[in-house]
Subunit: 236 residues, 2 copies
């Protein structure tokens, strides 16, 4: 059976619906998305395996999810470090950064040096709205994520991948296949190229929205904000 995925266009429309008819604020959605990511990291890489988590944040909403995840990881007992080279002037992102600074979470500008000192990496660089070419300073970061032996958890999409067509045929990201992917709300078409552990997160989608976008989401268990699925999105 084919997996029901959410195209880039529909992911954007669904996000818009959540904030209009769904009446969610971006603060709420980002809090729950970041919380999902933090729970996936805890599941695959509990603090006993190494507390040093490097969180790479891009300039948009995917980066915001990463900032929220970093805060929750700190509260779980991890030692997160944040790489956030293109900081948005948007009030929300500035507040999420302040929340981390109040916990004395370090922000680094040297990704390769920080990577060497890490046990796990969160890739919150680009999400479902990414397309085209990876802009500076991220090509080298994607290259480092592709070649590192440290496990990487990608948020919504392995950064640099085309949402429909998967990894680029050449250049940064062409050999990138992270250990873990957290698909927010629903898997995107790119999951057919993914080979690692795969979770769905974002336990806030109403039945109406599931129906409108023809999603077939697996049941979450207990109070979990994530549910594990097969690499390509199939129910387990």
């Amino acid at each position: 059976m084919a997996i029901k995925t959410l195209s880039a266009k529909n992911a954007a429309a669904l996000d818009k619906d959540l904030m209009s008819i769904g009446a969610f604020s971006i603060d709420q959605l980002m809090e729950l998305a970041g919380l999902s990511v933090s729970q996936a990291v805890y599941r695959v890489h509990p603090p006993t395996r190494g507390r040093r988590v490097l969180v790479a944040c891009g300039p948009g909403n995917n980066g915001g999810d990463g900032l929220v995840a970093a805060r929750h990881l700190w509260h779980y007992g991890y030692k997160p470090t944040v790489y956030y080279p293109k900081q948005s002037k948007n009030d929300l992102y500035q507040r999420l950064s302040t929340q981390l600074k109040n916990l004395n979470v370090p922000f680094t500008e040297d990704f390769p040096a920080a990577l060497k000192e890490s046990d796990h990496v969160v890739d919150a660089i680009f999400g479902f709205s990414f397309s085209g070419k990876v802009r500076e300073p991220f090509p080298a970061v994607i290259e480092a994520l592709s070649s590192t032996s440290i496990p990487v958890t990608s948020v919504d999409a392995p950064s640099s991948w085309n949402i429909e067509d998967g990894p680029p045929s050449s250049g940064p990201g062409s050999t990138f296949n992270p250990a873990v992917l957290v698909s927010l709300t629903a898997p995107k078409p790119l999951v057919k190229y993914f080979k690692g552990r795969h979770f769905i997160g974002g336990r806030f989608v109403s039945p109406d929205i599931q129906k409108k976008y023809d999603l077939d989401l697996p049941d979450y268990e207990g109070i979990d904000q994530i549910v594990e699925v097969g690499a390509n999105g199939q129910k387990l």
Copy 2:
């Protein structure tokens, strides 16, 4: 050893600090507070014990926490019903209500009838800013919560209790002692009169704020948003 509690005055000041120097939005804090409440309900009363949860919401922030908890409970597989007789015109509360309506969560105006059809009740009527007299239509609701045999989980304070002095000496609430209390951020002085299961929720307090308010919070475990303490707030 005396338990460190947070006075009504300091609880208000801490809340203000969270939103100013802490840089949290009310949306974020309410989401995490309501999530804590939902996790406590799941812990003490899993859905296998009965899915019908009546959530009584007051006009302020405590009611907002209840609205968030009701949504998470729905996602956990409960069948929440909301009693929210004094609905705020504040945009946030209206959005939280819409989020529930989108899940077809029923809103009732008949508290006694709804109580008869419930397995568990969440008391999100009044929180740390309550003082003075219980206003209509809540006296009868507090009386019903005092005499019902259905377990009640109170959010931050058993509604009608004075934050410092505990249950009123007479009238509604004088015999109210809920089965469960979720103290948000830290226990209030009223916990010395409380006799049930007690959780602390709100896993977002920074070490600086803990220090400023001389709090001595227990460690949360794993990814939990709640931690159980003794009835009067002592660490277990």
